[in-house]
């Protein structure tokens, strides 16, 4: 049996094609499924192992990033059934499957309560991603350090990463100092913006591009199977994606981002097939 991934598209997602390509390169079969297909009941999350929530601007981020998108998944009914896509998603999570949200997908997960989901509560929002301290959108490659003690299945074996951020609302803010303490104590802060020279987490612009609290760039839930991050791993799956590939001949053919998808596929092969 093959690893089956899907990327939800529509209403403003932009990165579904490259996320799908990353899944494919990592060895999964991948479908790009328009949310209308899910709502019409012609496609179901249950038929997949790996859900990708891609970057973009759901509904233009008009009510704040991913807010209207979260509202749709929560309240719109799937035709011919009593359930919402959010209900399918809860079943998906309970089945031990994987979810990765990048950028707008991360915003969507946080605003639906899927992350950090302390104590396994996947319905209550306890953190947010809000406007960059700089006040506008920014496209910039950032150095990231990985917490080696994180339960995150996607970042196993990884230490440092280099991906672009491309957002206007990427500043991570926990609801309280208790939430932050829990995130840190349980090693859920998988990725942090770091100083390229030292690898230490940093609050200094532009290394920390948006003023994220505790330099947090990505978090997982306590199972490590739900993961969200502002930087774009799918934007670095080949050496020519790297901004300095023309001056760094030593860069490997494969980009760093692909390993996140490979880890997901391997986890599924070992645990879900």
């Amino acid at each position: 049996m093959n690893v089956k991934a899907l990327v939800i598209a529509g209403n403003g997602t932009n990165c579904e094609r490259e996320v799908s390509e990353a899944c494919r390169l990592a060895g999964a079969e991948c479908d790009i499924v328009h949310v209308a297909e899910l709502l019409a009941g012609r496609a179901r999350l249950d038929d997949y192992h790996f859900l990708n929530l891609a970057g973009g601007f759901l509904d233009g981020d008009d009510l704040g990033s991913a807010k209207a998108g979260a509202n749709r998944l929560r309240h719109a009914r799937v035709a011919g059934s009593d359930e919402t896509v959010a209900d399918q998603l809860q079943r998906f999570i309970a089945a031990g499957k994987l979810v990765m949200g990048v950028c707008n997908g991360f915003q969507l997960m946080v605003k639906m309560g899927l992350l950090p989901a302390l104590g396994g509560d996947h319905l209550t929002q306890s953190a947010t991603l809000t406007f960059n301290d700089g006040g506008h959108f920014e496209d910039r490659w950032c150095e990231l350090s990985v917490d080696p003690d994180s339960p995150c299945v996607f970042t196993r074996g990884l230490d440092r990463l280099y991906f672009p951020v491309r957002h206007g609302e990427g500043k991570f803010v926990p609801a309280s100092s208790e939430v932050l303490a829990a995130i840190e104590a349980r090693h859920l802060a998988v990725l942090r913006y770091c100083d390229p020279a030292t690898g230490a987490p940093t609050m200094e612009y532009p290394f920390n591009p948006n003023g994220s609290v505790a330099a947090i760039a990505g978090i997982c839930d306590e199972t490590g199977r739900l993961f969200g991050l502002m930087p774009h791993p799918e934007a670095y799956v080949h050496r020519t994606h790297h901004p300095r590939w023309t001056r760094q001949p030593e860069l490997p053919e494969e980009g760093m981002g692909l390993q996140l998808y490979r880890n997901a596929v391997e986890f599924i092969r070992n645990n879900l097939l």
């Binding site: 094609r17 490259e18 233009g60 953190a127 809000t130 301290d133």
Partner: protein, 990 residues
Amino acid sequence: MAGLKDGVRDARGERVRREIREHLGIDLASVRTVDVYTVDAQLSEAEVRAAALGPFCDPVVQDVSVDRPLPRDFDILVEVGYRPGVTDNVGRTAKEAIQYLTGRPFAAGEAVYTSVQYLLKGRIDVAAAERIAAGFLANGLIQRWTIVPSGEYDAERGLPVFVPKVDVGAHAIAVQEIDLDVSDDELMQISKAGMLALTLEEMKIIQAHAADPAVQAERRKMGLGARLTDCELEALAQTWSEHCKHKIFAAHIAYEDTTTGEKSEINSLFKSYIVRATRELRERAGENDICLSVFKDNAGVIRFTDDWSLVFKVETHNSPSALDPYGGALTGIVGVNRDSFGTGKGARLLFNTDIFCFASPFYEKPLPPRLLHPRRIFEGVVEGVEHGGNKSGIPTVNGSIVFDERFAGKPLVYCGTGAIMPTVVNGQPGHEKQANVGDRIVMVGGRIGKDGIHGATFSSEELHEGSPVTAVQIGDPITQKRMFDFLIIARDRGLYSSITDNGAGGLSSSVGEMSQDTGGFEMHLDRAPLKYPGLQPWEILISEAQERMTVAVPPQHLEAFLKLAGEMDVEATDLGCFTASGYYHCLYQGKTVTWLPMDFLHDGVPQLRIPARWTPPAVAEPQLPEPQDYVAELKGLLGSLNVCSKESVVRRYDHEVQAGTVVKPLTGVVNDGPSDAAVVRPLPDSFAGVAVAHGICPRYSDIDTYHMTANAIDEALRNYVAVGGDIDHVAGLDNFCWCDPVKSDKTPDGEYKAAQLVRSNRALYDYCLAFGVPLISGKDSMKNDYQIGDTKISIPPTLLFSVIGKVEDVRRAVTMDAKTPGDLVYLLGTTRDELGGSEYYARLGHTGRNVPQVDASSALRRYRTVNAAQARGLIASCHDLSDGGLAVALAETAFAGDRGLDIDLRRVDAEGDLADWQLLFSESASRLLVTVRNGDRAAFEELFAGQSCACIGRVTAVPELRIVSRAGDMLMVAANDELKAAWQAPLKEL
């Protein structure tokens, strides 16, 4: 109402505070913001609360209240909301969110309206707040504002609720008939009062048409009287507008050159130079012709791979951007997206390009009435394109900003979009389309409102006091994205036979053009979905409301088409069908409201006659002393607006979404060097790439537009070649932005301006032919003047030349940053005494006379050889020489790579006896600065044997630029950091 909790940083408010300080010099203690949702719908209290606490707020950082104000602790409150009828994207999304929440659709007329309250704290009075609101927070054309000092604020009830619902008033929907049997003065009065922009000659032709007994007999059969209806007159005005008909490019021009004594007659610049160049090139290329579709469609199409074709279109959106920079630019980018999408059977959008021409944002002179400050235009345009491009998921990969004081009169906003389409769609060529008799006319996407009425005729005039506010509108990228997601599926299922966008002229233009395939149509205007009731039939016909495409759907596919649209939340409406009647036929509630012969509509417009007379301007070379301090001169040039870093703007655009951008706009060791062009890899299963570049040099127009044009073409090509674009697989797009060249009382120097246009077109023909670059698409915007009272500002004639082409293998692409110490530095191309129109002269207040001249044959040979060297991997870096000449190119190459350069001017290949400063700052065309690994020296020099190829120095590990003079002395030593700081300083904070 949703506002940030205490202690949460208000990034939006802080940005506003910073901008108010910069723009208006008012230093406030703080600015905080509150979002207001005004819900005008039948909802229960619980439903309103659920919306407020759910989709309308972020509970982690925001407080929320219902029917109770949030603001406190301020000195003055300013609330800014939209005027009735203006597109409110947030309001539309809020409405959809409530519908999902309640599971019930809004009734007709119900809506959500949004506004923002700015809480200003600090030493400020109402008059200053008024300046802030009018001058920065709001644009009075589309927004309204309320100012309340804290002393007058009702803390219990807040501001009175304002619902900006469109008031349709009591006026009846009626079709007016217009009596054209009147005097010439009255004819012109009808044209002026109706914003028709028709000339007397055109009005008289329409008058004669209406008076023709045969025409009247035909009209009687359809139940129409002898007088034309308002719908008919509007349809004619739209179709015959300069914007849609390009009357100046189609004109008969009598050209005289006073220097040579030449007198010639030109029957259409477009046919004589542009179409002819492409036709001759295609014939010459034979089997190797890369063109697939030129001029006839919304965009040009060329070959790419066996399975895919490339589409490219560049548009301008100058007039709307002058009035509302944000909305104008946003509409510009989403508008050109529709052009490229709606080419052939439909294309997937690949990249955007943006080129802006502004006056300095630091402009300090008094501004004439109705002009916005250049800084505000800069900010608004950048933000508009940011929202349009980023939200649409299209990377902005290439662009530039050109500064000249005359652009205060009219900013130029060029927006381009590249796209990719399958060579074959459902067994037919992807680049061809054809509406058939009986196909249904289906309008897809947004609804029609009063927005954008008279955009086509408005942009055919200069900016004047009566310029209509309805010409301004706000784009909605998400509605458009939903539409594109839907249409690409419909394309692949073969559900439609033709498609075009609704841009200028709205349905009148899109249906009118598509129906030329069949020779007529029948359209029911009352079936078109409206944003609000009360539109007159003629308004429905010509409204330019955004995010709409018109599609020809074969009747057997109509049901499937409409069903798919419904599932994907896209509105699609059947308005009628294409016919072979020979008539432009519109109905309203079953009654005919237009019955115009197609041939009269499309061919009835008389040919304009324009006199053109060329006398070269009186310009001379200045006599300049040797500069005292070369480091200071170079830093001054690097810090000039035209040369300096545009990083603060570039980073606000997503330039790598879709994961194909292989050469990004910023490059080098810390990702901040200026790339010459972009390379995009559109297909994950192939390493074939697309290179895109442009050239623009309006300052040379002050000497001769012939050479301005030649240099723009050359600049585009050398940028393109620098990154690895194949010089033998490239096509060009010409976008003319001119000042009015038709001699009249308003334009006494029209003959000169028309001669400038002729000379530009001649250069376009000559150089496209010489370089072998076919033109595939283009556009002209011919009325870029400002005239109110005695003040007239005309822009410098400006041609944007954009190129698109192929990179055989993106892994061979080259960037501009110096790579490795020990590499050799080569200057390709001869340097001449050509500083006329240069950045160096401009900084010293001179124009000069010796404008750079392009030698296409040597340049073409050079570019081909560069391609050959790139294919063999012999080129480590390559950078074009343009504004600021060799000195600027050296500095940029050095600091982008964080390497030093040791340069010896004695080795530069120069023509004549040039001084050091001439060698360094001349802008001679077709030159490239290249670095080559030491080991590749022999192979590289062998390739360039017999060409101008001078090894002028070496890359070093010490990060400084060292230049030895012609006399052998050390002319300058400058640290990279110092040069880079000068280059980054001017626009860093914008």
